[in-house]
Amino acid sequence: MKRFLYGIAALFLLIAVVGCGNKEKEAAAEEKGPVTLSLWSFQEIHVKYFQDAVGRWNAENPDRQITLDAQVYPYDDMHNKLLLALQSGSGAPDIVDIELGKYPLFLKGTPQLVPMNEYVEPEASQFIMSRFDIYSKDGKYYGVPFHVGASVIYYNTEILNAAGVDYKSIKTWDDYVKAGKKVKAATGKPMVTVESTDVWSVWPILSQSGGDFFDENGKCVVDNAHNTEVFQFLYDMVWDSKIAIASPGGFHHSEEYYGFMNGGGAASIWMPMWYMGRFTDYMPDLKGKIVVAPMPEWPGGFKSAGMGGTGTSITNQCKNLKLAQDFLYSAKMSKEANVKLWEELGFDPPRWDVWDDPRMNAPNKFTDYFENENIFGMLLAVKDSMNGVRITENLPRIHEQIKTTINPQLILEGNPDVHGVLATAAADVNR
């Protein structure tokens, strides 16, 4: 028996020693003086960004030094943990990144977050304000965006050229479908993939067309005539003209999908700007073959729509409110910060008055990868015609409907009763 117990002890001791062999990487030693601000994120690179921002802040504000206590948690769980902390009134951080899809949970009831209005309002004309609206309730802006998330279309010019299609000639969705037919006939490849278990195919074009899942009273109107037309358009591309296929793996972030696209699977895909990183990281073989272009247009619609995002917010458990707010402004809303958002994170920054800054066109991994001469030049052309989305408490429910019912039935199974499917879903959300 003794040997048995010694066995346990020795074994774990051994492993622990091996584990300790790793060189120490202790966080910066705490000194007296600087105020510690805690920050949670679900994104390691966001934390790195904020730590650099603290460096800049401390250099400029010798009398208001900050130490950042930044922690990275898994995506779902960070939001769950925050929900628990705000719910129980204890344990929340000062500053926190809240992802758009989760944001409605924190706008329910009395938001336990602190408004940033006095920082947003003076410079409202320089911001793409729809990006602040999505993190607001009753006129109070609770979240500061990282990016515009402008929807764009990524064309594979190698495939288009093989079919004799010039992407510059595609202005409207009609043009797009025509080009798609040519591509399909010439190469046998689909023009585009449509997500069957996620929202990133339908949401951008629905918003860009001027539609929304909700009306101004927050009622779900996914089944109104306008929206039905958009879903019908997707349905027709898959089942009628057959220029689109359901995304392999179900959505544009599945492991299976990257391999499919990387192998030249489809001629184009529309996604928000932040999808650029997926190309550079996971589809290396397409380097030099992809061009970022404005979305085709709907008659009477918008040129683009801001999609996705993360709102950095300050919780009501913050003890150094003024400092946290000033820092957040400096880190994400100032001009310098907005250039850094592109340089460090590769995001299209929400402050459009920096888009023509020469630093925005300096070579980096994105300018190397994509064919474009000037990515932000393309974006400036669409900035005045960018639709936003209504974020309501019921957003997670309509997303659930799209992911589990609407898209599987329309895109995967080809249920021709588009309006019927949408009506059932809308009724469920409004219930």
Binding site: Q87, F106, K108
Partner: protein, 293 residues
């Protein structure tokens, strides 16, 4: 006599004291609290009682789907993950079996693989295109290829049960291997002398004497089956097409953390607890648990 009396009176309570403390200090309050929560609407900054409203979810077709999926999953895991591991444990217990340690270890390793990484690998293996490994194999066998994860409820359940078998086979083997050690070799030798064949030995000695272990594994499998979430998450994350992978805990998770309805989630949890209790009480009764003492 007095001392003996004292020790027999007090000692048992000392032995079970850790459990009593854990139960009273750690669990009693949260359990009561979550039952209370199931009668509340909980939104940030506001909490109020809404009677039985949360329990109206029992009428939600999604809940029925979740319940049906969990029920089928529990059935299949019981049907596969009890007899099969017993058989393998008996084989791996045979002293003349070569490579016993290696086999035992191989069967056990899948339970150690991180859920998210197992997901990455399995989603690629069961990719829908003809490139995916599963499709290459069925194609080589002359069978039609499938979009495994997205096609429909039948294949979805197949994947879930396959994954459960992959992950938990080795763990159940461990339980049964331990249980087998409690059976003395003399019994087998005696019965052999009596002319019993191996099948008879298995039925008359191995199975009856393994019964306590079987009762244990059945009980935790019923719990594990109804409380399953991870296996579904591996294939579909939280949302599957037409909810083919939705389970009761998945539904609870969706309500509580995706839609922020903590009260509703608590109600689902309470219902789940009752379902598990009902099934397990029935099974324990059928096994005659608690009678022989």
């Amino acid at each position: 006599m007095n001392r003996y009396f004292f020790r027999v009176r007090m000692v048992p309570y000392l032995f079970i004291l850790p459990f009593i403390l854990t139960f009273l200090v750690i669990y009693s309050y949260p359990i009561i609290h979550s039952v209370v929560m199931s009668f509340q609407e909980i939104v940030p900054g506001e909490t109020r009682f809404i009677g039985l409203n949360n329990y109206l979810l029992l009428k939600d077709p999604r809940f029925h789907k979740a319940l049906w999926n969990s029920l089928r999953y529990t059935f299949w895991t019981l049907a596969i993950l009890i007899p099969f591991p017993i058989l393998l444990a008996v084989m791996l217990n045979a002293p003349d079996q070569k490579g016993r340690t290696a086999f035992r270890s191989i069967f056990f390793v899948p339970s150690l693989v991180s859920v998210v990484v197992a997901g990455t690998v399995l989603r690629l293996i069961f990719a829908g295109s003809e490139r995916g490994m599963a499709n290459q194999i069925v194609a080589a066998l002359g069978l039609p290829i499938h979009d495994w994860r997205l096609e429909g409820p039948g294949l979805a359940m197949f994947l879930l049960v396959l994954l459960a078998t992959w992950r938990w086979l080795g763990v159940n083997i461990v339980y049964f291997l331990a249980g087998l050690q409690n059976i003395p070799m003399e019994l087998y030798e005696a019965s052999r002398i009596d002319g019993a064949n191996r099948f008879q030995q298995f039925r008359r000695i191995t199975l009856p004497l393994l019964k306590p272990t079987i009762v244990f594994v059945v009980t935790i499998s019923i719990f594990g089956g109804f409380a399953m979430f991870e296996e579904s998450y591996i294939f579909w994350q939280a949302n599957s097409p037409n909810s083919i992978g939705l389970t009761i805990v998945g539904y609870l998770w969706r309500k509580g953390f995706q839609q922020g309805e903590l009260g509703a989630a608590a109600a689902i949890g309470v219902v789940l607890l009752f379902i598990i209790l009902a099934f397990n009480m029935t099974s324990l009764k059928l096994f005659g648990f608690g009678k022989e003492d």
